[in-house]
Symmetry: C2
Subunit: 347 residues, 2 copies
DNA sequence: CTGTTAGCGCGTTCAT
DNA sequence: ATGAACGCGCTAACAG
């Protein structure tokens, strides 16, 4: 492989001038031509390792995820990788298989590998590993999930507010008996807080038997949902705090031939039909009401924020929290109970 | 950051001995202790760029895919990344967005970046870029798709044989009017060859109007399927050459409330229910008959073959083609016509 | 098995 | 704007 010295000899220009040219600094028109010709002739490529040894830049960034087969992530990564590539960065993918320990290990490995930055969707509730990484000079952007009491750059969505507003809408449609099935992660927590706040603000009771917290790596949401349906006083509306619970609702629907919204109204945080290879669920009518996350934007903003942090890596920044807006779509899957009972209350 | 020289001073052992120790060569017990203590005390980490500058190894490999949101790939990548990590390699992800040109660019970029190896699911029909990459000393493993007339290490599945045998089974069940909807990629081609061979070997006619080749980036398989159904002499069995066509069949099924197998028997290459977040389709009965690909194994074998190639990079190997076995599952979605017509032919 | 020495290819002072 | 010289941190070839 040709080195910069070969270019030096071929072009007759000294290698420091070539090096300057290579990083976009001004060079005599005459030298520019000589250099370009020599580079083309030799098919010279800069050696990233030699370059990185001096500059301490690898031009690669890490993305650390709990599970790449979770269909939520690929669209985010796709956009992220696209943006990073435009700026000359490669993306290293790390799947930590929902293991908190492995997450910590992966973060350490990437940091040791001297990636220039990291995007992390954490499953941990302590942030020591992240703090250590940042202290080592590697900027970290938290994706989708935060850690309580830890301030860090992040990209999330309006979990709390979106859930709050969605449930308020359902309450306005007359729903009083509102249940929720959810997981035990950060996002689930925020969303359920929104649900409960909506109930509270509408002076509705929060009934413990209607709130089912699951470990979605173990528990089957469809079972929890069936149990809710089989209560002597079942809910009229089910809030599914994520796609897995939404899919659980779909299973129950298919299994019991459940009438939506006749027997149960359903609202899902996430929109199954927008997930990869899932568009066919739109043929199961009525579609579940949904809260759509802007996955491409999540990837885009993660890239932009990370690029910014890497640009001025030395400076101390305030942590920036970018909270993207979701889109609420109430479909026929949520019954208008109020209309049925008292149509005079409509404006 | 501490360097090997700091360890040298701290431990009193020369840096070349330290370097040897670091790459697992034998060292005096006495020195081992000194070195380990110094490393621990200083929290020394090897500098991958300085190391790579000498050894020309980055300990990272590239995976180049047409579309990471295609649910076929994430499980493969997951396993691949897992295996590579165990051997100290990181995985760089490159999505070329189904663009043949971008695929070529991405391969060049990764090769320039001096990754130690590459796994590629190509969309190209010429192999110049791959040849160039291998000539530069970067081993390439082709994944899922081959290029006609180009010999290269690869991991595929038994597209031809699996399709052949599946269709033979259906023919044995009495099917004569067999249609197929398929895409224009390598795998589709192999599978359709298998279908046609099965028809030929059973002395059944290959009716042009039953074979629909689509550009799945543009054409909607559900439309082609509906057209087949609306023929004056419609097929009794539909072969879907990939998951997208299978999903098209699912759409038609849901949209027209199609009776399976009453109005149409369906066989899909790929099993929708095994795709991420898709297990709920098992509640739509009867499940489509399917040919399941061993996705984890694909990732595992790709990793193993690549590791082997990187180990003895200088030697010239014969190209190895690993063809993994799929699993056929004929369900109630394929009608037993023969039984209905002539139960006396059963043994 | 150890330590000494000489680069790997490039970035970055300096003087000019 | 340019060229000469040094050093980034590590590995490998050598002599001991």
């Amino acid at each position: 492989l040709p080195t910069i010295i070969d270019v030096e000899q071929e072009s007759g220009v000294s290698k420091s001038t070539i090096s300057r040219f290579l990083r976009g600094m001004t060079v005599t028109e005459e030298n520019r031509v000589k250099i370009e010709n020599a580079i083309k002739k030799l098919n010279y490529k800069i050696n990233p390792m030699a370059s990185g040894l001096k500059s301490s830049k690898t031009f690669s960034v890490g993305v650390i995820l709990p599970d790449i087969t979770d269909s939520f992530f690929p669209p985010i990564i796709k956009e992220f990788e696209h943006c990073m590539l435009e700026h000359g960065y490669h993306v290293i993918l790390s799947d930590y298989a929902n293991s908190r320990e492995k997450e910590i290990i992966q973060l350490g490995l990437l940091s040791d590998k001297m990636v220039d930055g990291i995007v992390l969707a954490t499953s941990n509730i302590k942030a020591d590993h992240i703090k250590a990484c940042i202290d080592h000079g590697v900027p970290v952007i938290m994706l989708d999930r935060l850690i309580a009491g830890f301030s860090c750059d992040s990209i999330t969505v309006d979990n709390f507010n979106a859930s709050y507003r969605a449930v308020r809408e359902c309450i306005n449609l007359g729903h009083i008996k509102i249940a929720a099935v959810h997981g035990h992660f950060y996002t689930d927590g925020e969303r359920i807080k929104g649900v409960k706040k909506a109930l509270k603000d509408s002076k509705l009771p929060i009934r413990d038997e209607y709130f089912r917290k699951l470990n979605l790596h173990i528990d089957k949401p469809e079972e929890a949902i069936e149990e809710l349906l089989d209560l002597t006083d079942p809910p009229t509306l089910l809030f599914c705090s994520n796609i897995y619970v939404g899919i659980g609702a779909l299973k129950v629907r298919l299994k019991r031939n459940l009438k939506i919204p006749g027997e149960l109204s359903v609202l899902v945080f996430d929109d199954i039909s927008t997930f990869p290879n899932h568009d066919y669920v739109t043929y199961i009518k009525p579609e579940f009401s949904s809260i759509t996350q802007p996955v491409s934007e999540i990837g885009k903003y993660a890239a932009e924020l990370l690029l910014q942090r890497m640009k001025d890596a030395d400076k101390n920044h305030e942590a920036v929290n970018i909270e993207l807006k979701t889109r609420l779509k109430i479909t026929q899957s949520v019954a208008n109970i109020k209309n049925d009972l008292s149509s005079d209350q409509n404006k």
